[in-house]
Symmetry: C2
């Protein structure tokens, strides 16, 4: 009707949003939650739609889309599948630009008539000049324009663009990523990919000036050739971190049931990622770790040499094994360097051979002194500092007086990073109790606030850095 399809940028900055299927009697329903979320974010033009009510949650409620007096660019839909075609007619009449269909039970249900319904929906969108996001998805999180379908996250935009076929993962990445310092330009949960799909979103993010790093959770690919082109361009322009679900028979079955995705061969996908220099990860946790490394390692390590320092012989031994397994390298320290370390660290209970492990490495002075010595070793390209929060409850009180530790440690790391020109990565291991978690979150907040990459175990750092260094070396051979 309009002649030209709306762009994704137009979709991400709507002037008015209608939410269809809001009910004040069901606080848990998705449309209700979207209303709350937009309100909390200070989005101004919110139009709940439900013929049964004239007011919901302090907002005027409209009997239909057509009854809304203002401009509606974006519609969020959570009504039964059977009623959607009629609603899409209203969308065309109202001249909306995009419809985010939360409703599930379409192609992925396995029913033929539901797959046909999807096709009819797409025809309506084409004819009506609007785009569909979904169905079977949680839609958009665009902090800059306050178009946020989920809440309790800061409205601070950041450089990461995330496209996720799964709604759960679209929530998990920001919820677990924000405390680690990750912020987002746009998060798009696109579900069954009836219209807006993985290739279009990849293309968009690779051009988007607000996006510096692209993250993608993909179960299936709609058009292999288009996807190949989009991934190639995106990976050429920006770091792309991709997590592919459905790599085994059972996973493929789950992916089909989840978003009607026909997943491709694992071997083909792996080879593709290697060739295009795309960073592949195995789960959302690893995706967060890799994003944290890409975002906060300053600079990105120029090689595989790692020095590990911290407290705890057991974790040090494990970390050494994990680093080497992941393809990183712990250069042994020369007798001269070990001699220098001996002057700043105690002999008893210390390992001075890389990993460097000493109980005094809980003091910022010892950390600084150790990093001064290690900073001169040429084949070390990054430092990993680790600290377990379990001792908080071990021996009657904290081994680490965190009040006096955190700020001096932040200063020590900041100084050492500047002096050595090599990145410092932190592994803070969370404790199993609530009191310990309070200290843990406080420490994490301080280190993240100072711009450091924080991980939750030495295995996680090892896994993530092995990926990032391999990617970096492939890009800068």
């Amino acid at each position: 009707m309009e002649g030209r399809e709306p762009t994704l940028d137009e979709i991400f900055s709507p002037r008015g949003v209608a939410i269809v299927g809001v009910s004040p009697r069901d606080e848990w329903s998705f449309p209700t939650k979207v209303v709350h979320s937009l309100k909390e974010a200070g989005f101004t033009a919110i139009y709940p739609v439900n013929p049964k009510y004239t007011e919901v949650f302090g907002l005027r409620c409209y009997p239909s889309l057509r009854a809304i007096p203002g401009i509606v660019d974006h519609v969020v839909v959570g009504i039964p599948a059977e009623s959607i075609l009629a609603l899409l007619d209203d969308c065309a009449t109202k001249g909306v630009k995009s419809v985010n269909i939360f409703t599930a039970g379409f192609r992925e249900s396995g029913y033929k008539e539901r797959a046909e319904l999807e096709s009819a929906m797409l025809s309506k969108a084409r004819a009506g000049g609007f785009r569909i996001i979904g169905p079977n998805c949680v839609g958009l999180f665009v902090p800059k324009t306050h178009l946020v379908n989920w809440t309790r996250l800061p409205l601070e935009p950041g450089p990461i663009g995330f496209l996720s076929q799964s709604g759960g993962n679209a929530l998990d990445l920001p919820y677990h990523g924000v405390p680690r310092g990750l912020h987002f330009s746009k998060v798009v949960s696109y579900g069954n990919a009836l219209d807006v799909d993985e290739s279009e979103l990849l293309q968009y993010f690779s051009q988007d000036p607000e996006t510096e790093i692209i993250a993608a959770y993909i179960e299936g690919v709609k058009d292999g050739r288009r996807f190949l082109g989009a991934l190639k361009e995106a990976s050429f322009r920006k770091p792309v971190v991709i997590y592919k679900g459905g790599t085994t028979e059972a996973g493929r079955r789950a992916a089909y049931g989840h978003t009607a995705s026909l997943t491709s061969s694992v071997a083909v996908f792996d080879a593709l990622c290697r060739q295009l220099k795309t960073i592949q990860v195995d789960d959302i946790e690893e995706m967060i770790d890799v994003l944290v490394a890409l975002r906060f390692a300053r600079p990105l390590p120029q090689g595989t040499g790692v020095a590990i320092l911290g407290v705890g012989g057991g974790p040090s031994v494990l970390a050494s094994d994990e680093m080497e397994k992941g393809g990183l390298h712990l250069p042994p320290l020369s007798p001269e360097v070990q001699g220098e370390l001996r002057q700043v660290l105690p002999l008893a209970g210390a390992i001075l051979s890389n990993p460097v492990d000493a109980t005094t490495l809980q003091s910022p002075e010892a950390i600084s002194a150790t990093l001064r010595v290690l900073g001169k070793v040429p084949d070390i390209h990054m430092f990993i500092y680790h600290l377990g929060f379990h001792p908080v409850s071990c021996w009657g009180d904290s081994l680490v007086p965190l009040e006096t530790f955190i700020q001096p440690a932040v200063d020590a790391f900041t100084q050492a990073q500047q002096a050595t020109g090599k990145p410092i990565l932190l592994a803070l291991r969370p404790p199993p109790d609530l009191d310990g978690m309070k200290l843990f979150f406080a420490a994490q907040k301080a280190f993240v606030g100072a711009g450091f990459p924080v991980f939750h175990s030495l295995q996680q750092v090892a896994r993530a850095m092995a990926r990032v260094v391999a990617w970096y070396q492939a890009r800068h051979p």
Copy 2:
């Protein structure tokens, strides 16, 4: 001198304990912490030793071991290495049974004279008729006799015996295990294994009536032939879960610097574990998971068939992949079974093909109904239920009203487990914020309290159950 060496059982139940090197001016020192810990545990005959004080922490303090009027069976030592030989003479005079040497900086320091000092210490112990635990270790945690070197853990004994070459791991396993329901007969941190070593401890635990499951963290093996015999007998009698540190070159270097361990070839050790039907794990986290499965899966699953049910398509897809990678199997559900599920679960947003995923699987009624249907499928040997705690902070309030969810869910699972005779395993995914953690810990406590095995991610359940089922099938071919 005494003619007969004290047994480990005698060592684990001393009548009096002396702590040498206590200082009221250093709250962080190990001897000080041991005094606090024994006091808190209600151990009665505690004798701090330090010639500078006559009273510490409300206890009479003695100038020397010899000055103590009462019986001293066990001595905890945290004084400099140089002073230890003289102290061991006092131990012989006083007729003690065991000396736990926390002090480090011996053989593992790489200095020849420190290795010789170790040998001299061993000669003194042999001549004096007492045993040495350590050096370079945190010693004993025996809740039954209140001989506990670290505190803030319940004094409830349990069926797990843990020998750990690393002090950090000796703390990590109970601190992270207790909230998961794991309790211990004895935890022994044995450090450099100068006297009491891995083979003796394995032999002890395999005979100990209070130990049903043996866990071991080992960096190096002192005597291959003895160890082989001990591991063979232990693995024949009881489930043995072993985590071997130092499997790469860097790890081996760290292990030597940590506990002076010369680690053996990975391939040999792997083959040994397979042959002896020992369960090998890759880190302490996995050790906890496997112990939780062995302890609480009721009964142990009789095969590799898994049904996954829960909320979240993304995690379901991932879990399917993880299960299959680990050697478990997700049988597809027949159209008849899927038809039955359709009557108890909504069509929209649900995956009914195994994994079974539906938002209503947050209601105990839906859980019960689903388990009733799945309970009849013969090739399913265990059920894994998963629930993410991230939604707590997602959409303005909790998706799961935990107050009303936990107890009904416990009841639903208990009933289903009894009715089906197949184990139910729970994956509760922790949230990234303190408010969420409160709910998470409350839920974990309730499920653990009801005797369920609780894990923290679907990957963890998959990894642990793959190990446990492989072990079970090897034992019951």
